[in-house]
Symmetry: C2
Subunit: 422 residues, 2 copies
């Protein structure tokens, strides 16, 4: 399958089958979908060797793809990792079914009952570069929310993903759900993705999960809506009315607990009135953790060992033990900086002043705005969504962590008794 | 302003101003926004002559644009029409403010309070071809939901729209809201739209309201999300268990009450078991109203004066006194036909069978699914949304009538007490 026309036909047929399966899934009961989740978990346990063998083939090829040893470790499956993947399926089975939920309902003066009922989106095209467990997580979230999914994983994990997909579709057959509810793109040809992205009549939404270049390519080419996850340039603002011990704890946690992820802090803002006292203290604590500090002109004299920051530093997602530092005039200045230089992902204020907290949460235009809590909490699990397929940096449709509910739409269901309009 | 570079600069500066105004609007209180709505209504009443004079200039030019007399009538403003426009503003002032609403909130086991709070989308680019009253309605809905709006009206109503816009911005100044909250594209050059559609960093959503070609152009060119309103190919399915009198009333109302609008029925489906009895009765009633009937092979012998339907007829939005008619095997066949031939807009079943109603509302994939009620009810006003900026045929973000709530997003607001992640 290499010629463009073959790829186009393959994409179209795959999407047609997904569309047909999605109609059946939309009417499936929660119990049926949960049976599939539990049956998949069972098969992952009993057929582990089959998956580990496939994984071994990927690991063998890893050096060809130039994977680092860290990347190879992420690619590797073990009995323990398979057990966690299976356990995650059982946890998703325990979440409430979002489909069919009455979002709101009211009786109109003429007696019509108008309700908004939660329904699946339809067909989801999921493109990912990540570890093989994402194959299972994504399929589970999509099917539980009543959607058919087309999975397109990275070439490095091709055999592992295919083996996991086989188990998932076998389980679909076992519980009487359509096998086409979860399809796997059987070619690693990059051109295939382009054909899927043209099918806006058949695919309802595309979700890319990976690096910036993947997301930019998908956004540029897609003819259907895309749920995007761009940079996390997250801030902690330490207000004049902050408890300095609490501020230190939150800054250290936001920056250092896991510096390579999107909800780690990249910039510290400090109110000018407390800068002289607070900055030397927090700078020493951060430097103890190995953090390099890039400081604005006002901050620099207060940070021994600090480096001068460029404007570009304030627009950079370091994903590393580097933090930009800026002294701000006041709360308004902090809000303005965050809205102009940040990426609308996660931003925190540390303050004991209620008015400042209210103003910060109202005016900062980010997917999550935290008061006296680390930026690291912006996460589907921490927010109680149960599981997430990604974190949206869009405002349209879904924002922040995307769980089951964010993979749904709604319809108006209207009951009358012969009502006509006059 | 004609050179491409001038248009590009104009679009960018307009969008920048809108972005800045949107930040202020996001923090405006409901009372401020309502004062603007009431002040605008007042100015529309006291400065009516200014608007009627501008309207007269458009009416004078109407023959040049080749407008039909019906279109000229829609373009015409009168004292009465201005009074209704003003009254609509006062009604929107009475609706609850969607901004700041707590959508849901819960306390996590660690004590974090995680809430989803409704926030504006930001900047809306609204492109419309319709009557001048839409200028005022759209501005009112956007600003009440906390969004800045850039209005791009049709050339036929340019002077009327500009005069209305002047009144709206004067009122913004009177109540202390930023004048850039409502901007009006001061050129009728078609190329200007293309430049706005490239500004996905500044404009959050584009809403086109007009014919199919406008919507297709906008969808193809836009780099930001679009709320679309495509065809309404709406069905009434008369089930085996339908009350024939009720069915007749609903079919007649769905087709004839206002045949030129999107929620009028275009296709009648009848269960085979009742076709022989019901079809001659409803056919006569429809023909009495001047409706032309285009029938499938099984329906044709039961409809004296009916014409044979082509497959294309079942995919056509007639917007006229024409109805396609098809006899279906059963409920499943009706659902299948609607999902494959319809446009996912509005579809109704007439039945007294609870199981049939449940199955129809679950399986029909449309923005509104009606049981024993005319398709004509799919409308923001009839559904109790207060007012609507359009009806979305998308599933993503908003579906069906779009009122104030559908012009919003949300953010997560998280309150902790020094919480860090471990």
């Amino acid at each position: 399958m290499n010629a463009e026309s073959d790829l186009r036909q393959y994409a179209t047929q795959t999407a047609y089958r997904a569309r047909r399966a999605s109609r059946q899934l939309a009417c499936a009961t929660g119990e049926q979908k949960n049976r599939w989740l539990r049956r998949s978990a069972e098969l992952l346990r009993t057929r582990g060797q089959e998956i580990l063998d496939a994984n071994a083939r990927d690991l063998e090829k890893a050096p060809e793809f130039g994977l680092t040893s860290a990347a190879i470790d992420r690619l590797r499956l073990t009995d323990n990792r398979l057990a966690s993947i299976a356990a995650a399926l059982e946890q998703i089975a325990m979440l409430p079914d979002p489909v069919g939920e009455t979002i709101d309902s009211h009786v109109r003066p003429n007696g019509l009952v108008v309700s908004r009922i939660r329904v699946p989106l339809g067909v989801i095209f999921f493109i990912y570069e990540s570890r093989p467990n994402v194959t299972v997580d994504a399929a589970a979230l999509c099917v539980k929310s009543g959607n058919a999914v087309i999975l397109r994983g990275g070439k490095e994990a091709f055999h592992s993903n295919r083996a996991l997909h086989t188990v998932l579709t076998d389980a679909l057959g076992d519980v009487g759900l359509p096998a086409d509810a979860v399809q796997f793109v059987e070619t690693t040809d990059r051109a295939a993705v382009g054909h899927f992205l043209k099918l806006n009549g058949l695919i309802d939404v595309t979700i890319p999960r990976g690096g910036r270049s993947l997301i930019e390519r998908v956004t540029a080419e897609a003819t259907m809506p895309v749920i995007k996850h761009f940079d996390g340039i997250c801030h902690v603002y330490v207000d004049r009315a902050a408890d300095p011990q609490m501020a230190e704890r939150i800054v250290i946690n936001s920056k250092c607990q896991r510096p390579g992820v999107c909800n780690a802090a990249e910039c510290l803002l400090v109110h000018q009135e407390i800068a002289e006292r607070f900055l030397p203290q927090i700078a020493a604590a951060l430097q103890d953790q190995g953090v390099e500090l890039r400081c604005c002109k006002r901050a620099l004299p207060l940070v021994p060992g600090g480096k001068p920051a460029t404007e570009a530093d304030f627009r950079t997602e370091f994903l590393d033990l580097i933090l930009s530092v800026k002294v701000v005039d006041d709360l308004e200045d902090a809000i303005h900086h965050i809205n102009e230089f940040g990426s609308h992902h996660t931003d925190a204020i540390v303050t004991s002043d209620l008015r400042a907290a209210r103003q910060f949460t109202t005016a900062v235009d980010s997917s999550a705005v935290h008061v006296n809590a680390s930026t690291r909490f912006n996460d589907g699990g921490e927010f109680g969504l149960g599981a997430e397929i990604g974190i949206s940096t869009d405002k349209f449709h879904a924002r922040g962590p995307c769980g089951l509910r964010e993979l749904t739409s709604y319809k108006f269901v209207v009951y009358g008794d012969g009502h006509v309009r006059t």
